[in-house]
């Protein structure tokens, strides 16, 4: 049986909705079952990657720290929409390494290569 290529599309900022935490949980579960998984960050989802966030200030869990565990779960394909960064006047000052910045067309091309997409 061929393995499905799964993508998790993160479009939500980290603290106002449970989406970002839910996406992380799904990614880690999939990773622990050795599924072929890629993470995509677009729209307000890019806020999840920005360095020096202080979730304790709003009584939120520091779940973004768990992103540093991606390498232990073999989650190695992390794609970030460069246009979404520019729209928000952000740079790639991220709290993770080993990500790939993609322009709009490249980002869309990567999504179209997947078998399954979960959008959060």
């Amino acid at each position: 049986m061929t393995q499905k290529h799964i993508g998790i599309l993160n479009c939500s900022a980290p603290f106002s909705k449970p989406n970002a935490k839910d996406a992380l949980d799904v990614a880690l579960i999939m990773g622990s079952y050795e599924q072929s998984i890629a993470l995509f960050f677009q729209g307000d989802g890019v806020w999840q990657l920005i360095n020096n966030q202080s979730p304790q200030q709003v009584n939120a869990k520091a779940f973004l720290d768990t992103f540093s565990a991606f390498k232990f779960y073999d989650i190695e394909h992390i794609y970030v929409c460069e246009a979404s960064l520019k729209e928000r006047n952000l740079t790639d000052n991220f709290h993770i390494d080993n990500y790939c910045l993609l322009d709009q067309d490249e980002f869309s091309d990567k999504l179209h290569q997947l078998d399954v997409v979960y959008k959060f």
Partner: protein, 96 residues
């Protein structure tokens, strides 16, 4: 390698519709349902219409919201038609 994009939110309150248009390709399909029907009245609709060939709206959902789709290039379908539609694309993304 086409995608069926299912839109369930209004672009007047969410960024999902804009991101969908950003990622969509010519041979993809876009289905409006629930509050996604309101996007027929949004200024972004023209952008989608020019970019994607296959556009669908759930007739009952549009009628329930008094959203008129009669003069717009879109196919009206029923809930039962969603199931076969999912098999016409490789992947489904539900934007909600």
């Amino acid at each position: 390698m086409s995608i069926l994009h299912i839109i369930r939110n209004s672009a007047f309150e969410s960024d999902d519709f804009r991101l969908c248009i950003q990622n969509a390709k010519k041979d993809d399909s876009v289905l409006l349902m629930d509050d996604g029907c309101y996007n027929l009245c949004h200024s972004l609709w023209q952008l989608l219409e020019n970019k994607v060939n296959n556009l669908y709206v759930i007739k009952e959902h549009a009628q329930a919201r008094a959203v008129d789709s009669s003069n717009i290039k879109i196919s009206t379908i029923s809930i039962a038609d969603i199931f076969p539609l999912t098999f016409q694309s490789k992947t489904v993304i539900t934007w909600q």
